[in-house]
């Protein structure tokens, strides 16, 4: 019931029903375009049968050596399309591409208050790798969980051994 396809520039003209949601940030153009230029395959959109944008995922692959990993930059689903397993599908694409790129793991940041999302990621096999203090600026600043899931290349599951101490944003590479 969902069309999953690569994100196109023109989708930005219609993604308001997703982005007007308070937890979804609308970035400057260059941000989206940079992802489209650099990691186009990681930027996928879910469209409903009536052509409405239901949600999208943005990601990238980065890091050196055994830190080479896929990263979820943004994952969002419009309110009326939640609880349909859409995020799971979108995450599956990202993980699949990361596997193909021979990444060791996939990671993402999430607000510690966003219980719905955290629960979902846990269900998808992600663990809280570490806490990043005051990662989200605001009033007040909010901490983030850095969540991870090992991919098949990380046979030892080294990437998902949780850190015991929180880190500061400037300490994450």
């Amino acid at each position: 019931m969902t069309t999953l396809r690569p994100f196109r520039c023109e989708d930005m003209f219609h993604f308001n029903n997703v982005n007007l949601d308070p937890l979804t940030e609308t970035y400057g153009l260059s941000f989206y375009l940079q992802y489209l230029a650099h990691w186009p395959e990681y930027f996928q959109v879910a469209e409903s049968s009536s052509g409405v944008i239901m949600g999208y995922i943005m990601g990238k692959a980065e890091g050196h050596g055994d830190n080479w990993h896929g990263h979820v930059t943004a994952l969002t689903v419009a309110p009326e399309y939640r609880r349909l397993g859409l995020a799971k599908q979108l995450m599956a694409i990202l993980e699949d591409i990361s596997e193909k790129k021979r990444c060791y793991f996939v990671d993402l940041f999430v607000r510690v208050s966003n219980l719905v999302a955290i629960t979902m990621y846990k269900k998808l096999g992600y663990i809280v790798y570490r806490t990043v203090l005051q990662y989200y600026s605001g009033d007040p600043d909010e901490d983030a969980y850095d969540m991870r899931k090992a991919l098949s290349r990380d046979t030892q599951q080294k990437s998902v051994i949780p850190l015991t101490h929180p880190v500061r944003p400037e300490d994450i590479e």
């Binding site: 003209f13 400057g28 469209e47 399309y81």
Partner: protein, 1298 residues
Amino acid sequence: MAGRTHAEDCVIERRLRPIYEWLDSGVNKKAVQEADKVLRKQPNLHCARVLKGLALLRMGKEEECLALVGQVVKEGPTDETTLQALTICYREMHQPEQICRVYEVAVKGEPGNEELLSHLFMSYVRVGDYKNQQQTAMKLYKLRPKNPYYFWAVMSHVMQAHKSVDPKGKEVSLLLAERMVNNFVKNGKIEAEAEVMTYLHILETQGKYEEALAVLDGPLASKVVHQPENFLSLHRGKYHMCLGQWAAAAAVYRDLIHREPDNWQHYVEYIRSVIHLTTTTTTTTAAEDPLVEASQFLSGVRQRAVEENSKDRGPLLGLLQLARALREAGKEDKIPQMCGDPADLLLTYIEVYGDKMCCFGDIVNFPPLIDEERVSGLLERVRNLYRVTSAGVPVDVEAVYRDLCWHQLRRALGQQEGLTAGQHQSFANSLVNLYTNTQNLAANMADTDIRPEDAYLILAAHSYIKAIQLTSPPSTSPPPPANPGEGGAGVGLEGCRRSLSTPPRSSCDWQPYWRGELKGRKRIFRATGAAQGVYERCDTKHIQLDTLGHVLALQALDSASYTSAAAIFSATLKFFMANYKDTSDPLIASYKYGSLTRIPEFVEFRETAQQFTLHFATVTAEQMLLDLTTNVSSHTQLVEALQHMDISPATDRTDWGHLTDNRDLKVMNSWEPPHRRLKEEDIAASVAADTALLRLRNLTLRLLPLQGPDPPRLYLFVTGSYLSLITRHAQVLQRVYRYTLDPAGTDTWSSETLKETREETENILDRHHQHVTALQTTPLQIDPGINTPALARLHHLAQAVGVAAILLGCCVALLRPIKLQAAKRGKKRKEAVVMRLEKALVAKHKQTNSAAAQETTAKISASLASLGGQERAGGGCLKAEEGQKGTLKATTGSEVLEKAGGGCLKAEEGQKGTLKATTGSEVLEKAGGGCLKAEEGQKGTLKATTGLGEQERAGGGCLKSEEGQKGTSKATTGSEVLEKDQIPCQKTQDRQHATTRTSTPLPGKKGPEDSRAPYGKTQGDQGAEIRASAPLPGLEGLEKSGGMQEGCRLEGCRRSLSTPTLIMRLAAILERGIERTKANFQLKLLLIKVYNMLGATGAAQGVYERCDTKHIQLDTLGHVLALQALDSASYTTAAAIFSATLKFFMANYKDTSDPLIASYKYGSLTRIPEFVEFRETLSNSLHFATVTAEQMLLDLTTNVSSHTQLVEALQHMDISPATDRTDWGHLTDNRDLKVMNSWEPPHRRLKEEDIAASVAADTALLRLRNLTLRLVGAACTLCPPPPPTTVWQLLTRRIVSA
């Protein structure tokens, strides 16, 4: 700087670092200081100089920056840091071409430098110079044979094709690209996925799908490794579809459905291919029938999903999609056999997914499949799927969702079509009850989620608004025919529609008919005859027809000025010719000519607007003139002038074609709602024959759904005669200019024009008086149908008057030299200005003790006052002419009138003893529109003339009759003041006012937002009154919904169906809903709409801000507030939104060229055409163009109060006559209208044509605004020449200053 040692580099880097740091932290002043420090040690350090320039640029000192940076560029730097800094600099100056030049020089210095070459390549990417891109890429490849470089060159060829308009060139470029790739393929040099993707892209663009399929089947396919799983299959399917290989395509998609049963696009494509297959193949046996096969396949998929209880929704809808496709293909008869009963299918789906919020959205396209007689049965069954209490309230959250789905479906199936306003209202009330009673069910939801019951509110809002729409026409009968033009508008629109639906010939016939009937102006017939000739000679019949539609629509501009239109026109042509002869000095000639041609353009437009016939006559005449001048060798300088000006009538005409291509019958649909109101008026009298038709059409009127675009602003603008006011003043200016060129000209000048101008000005002001009155009602009577249009009209009036004032100011600037000659002998006199409207407003305020709308009124009147001030500026400048009188004493008043330009007519009574008896009122009669000056001061005999009578008579607020002061201020001559001061009138006024009343503020200096103060000052004690009452505006009260609810309830008892009550209750309800569910943006968008209906922009803005729209949303969602704010005279709000919007669009350039470069770097070459297109879509945004034009007009009419300021302001604007960079043919509508939910039945849903209609109307209005701007630009160039400035510089300055 080349050849530095490493150690030196380190030192330099260390020294520069602080500059970078200050720049990064935005402390530009410190950066300059730091740079100076470095430059003291190393005066020639390129990079430090450029960085200093950059800091200066960011401080708004563009010229200094240019000087500094330009010097460095001349020295040809080649070091990386300097070049990078230069790149940033030129990017921020929006001169990306300069970056190319800089790197070209650098590369010449170091041809073997790979880094520099690749930077050069990127600099070409920024400006889209594909040819140079390609050459540079090949140079790079030769220098370093890396695959990416080679493919940069390939992609540059592709982009050349992309840009090429010539199909031949396109083909050649693509072939070249393909051959380059083929070479690589043959030699086995293809390495990366990106290269294969590029190859596929080239083949696709050329339509070589067979070859593309071969690539998918070949070894290259294995290089595609990073794409999603279905990438290859999807491409294969696409290629088969393009080749018409339906069976193969169907097989591919069937396989995809197997693998991804929930991916909807597979179903759509599969069914599409099957339908094609059935139409192309003729099979008789059921076993081979592809439809049967598809039916079996889709049933199987569905069966499996049901059995497995899977979460995939696609399988359940496959058969419905097949039914839909069959229906669209006209094979409805096959539906029962192939798909079964759609109602059953739908019910199954609702059974399974009815408890999801998305259920209705999933099935929105399928209700039309349900037979009408089965509708109620289906609804009944849906209703029985969930439990409600005895009061009809759903028992749990699941039931709420199901109940909502039922409501939505009911609406979409047309079950509520026949409801009356009252029924809609009580239905809405019941929904609000449901909302209240279900709140407890989902009390523990996360703040970030939307509550299920919110949808009740949205549904209720739709019903309320429906009720309001149904009650509005009778209860809020529009202002009585505001002017003859309004009636004319109706007829014009109708005529337009008629003519669009009739063949060209008859449309020509119609026009004179209407005009003749309506106006009894016989002139038109003559012109029509001429035009008919033109028309027949023209090949472009359909374009003309389009144009005609457009033209007739705009004919409503003004009903009373055909004569003058014709006059302007002929004057223009004559003027043209005279001008040719008079110009001896080629430079001056070209300059003057260049500027003037835009007046004809404007006039031409005017003609178009008014008279299709004259428009073409103009074009032809101009064409002929041009032919004449270009073919006559003695006029070589004119040829040069023409080239210089870059005007080409052909282009111009193409523009019109483009513009009007957009226009069609549907435009009129969108005008119908206002038009219907016109029907109520007595226009029928003149068009008896067509009332029947009119009625018929009105039957088809449809109110746009809530998510639809707002009604076009064009309508109000066009019916208000604003343009006519402006053109009249332009005409006056034209005359004045002509007079300055040839004071002894033979053109017979009569006071007629001036009189008409004045009358028109007076009329328009009179007409707008009622809108002021309309606004002064109590808040509860503020109606969607009255309030907003009244505000908008006053806003438009203010702007029109502002522009007229500017034109008059130009007249004065032209006449000043003449005055100077005559000044010595000039007589002394003085005058002041009294704005009639102001007075009227004050009077009204005194009468009104209600606080209603006072602030609004005050705001409007204040802005009017400031605009009036400009008028005064114009008017005051006109005083300059009195000086001439002395020299002209012998001349009779009428002679003088002939010589003196339009706006600057001077009553010349003083000269003639015989004329001593002339009363001020007579003078007023003669004096032109806004700029009449009563000159009684000259005549001792007239001293007694009363000022007040004249003030009453004086038009526009720019009449000054200042007799009272004469005695006291005789010493001040208008002319002296003029000489001393650039803003003469104001000074004069100031002095005079000092002696008489309170001091007059320099009007217009401040923006309208703070113009309450000047207004107050102007009006002295009365102002104080207004200020006192200002804090209690009725509209703002809306924001406090609590109090308002109270009011509503009270009011509700009295008249339950009154529109204002309803709409305010609705606002209150929505406010409450948002309060509860902050995440629900649907509620917010609805509320903005509701507030806009009331003209309560302040309140709307509050909601808008809560939506937190930014970046691209300024383009896609800006339409909900930006222009509404402007039209309701909330200039602060408008200015804030405008400036954010312009900022976004300015950044667009940089934001979209960086990714282009990234694409080349990272190999996502196939995205490049998309990026380029996206950039164009954004920069051609209609919204952007509109905001830019409105912003400039706003600036001109609110911030300019003297001619000097005008010239200065214009320097910052790119509206010199020769430039109109708007790409009229390709304006894009980027509004995201569908973001709002809607459950309308199919025939009421937002249609593409509605959107197209609103776009066409907005484009037409933009065209008008642009021409107005250009007229001002042209007018100003008649006077001191402003140097050309780009729009970017203007915007930069605006933002820097903000």
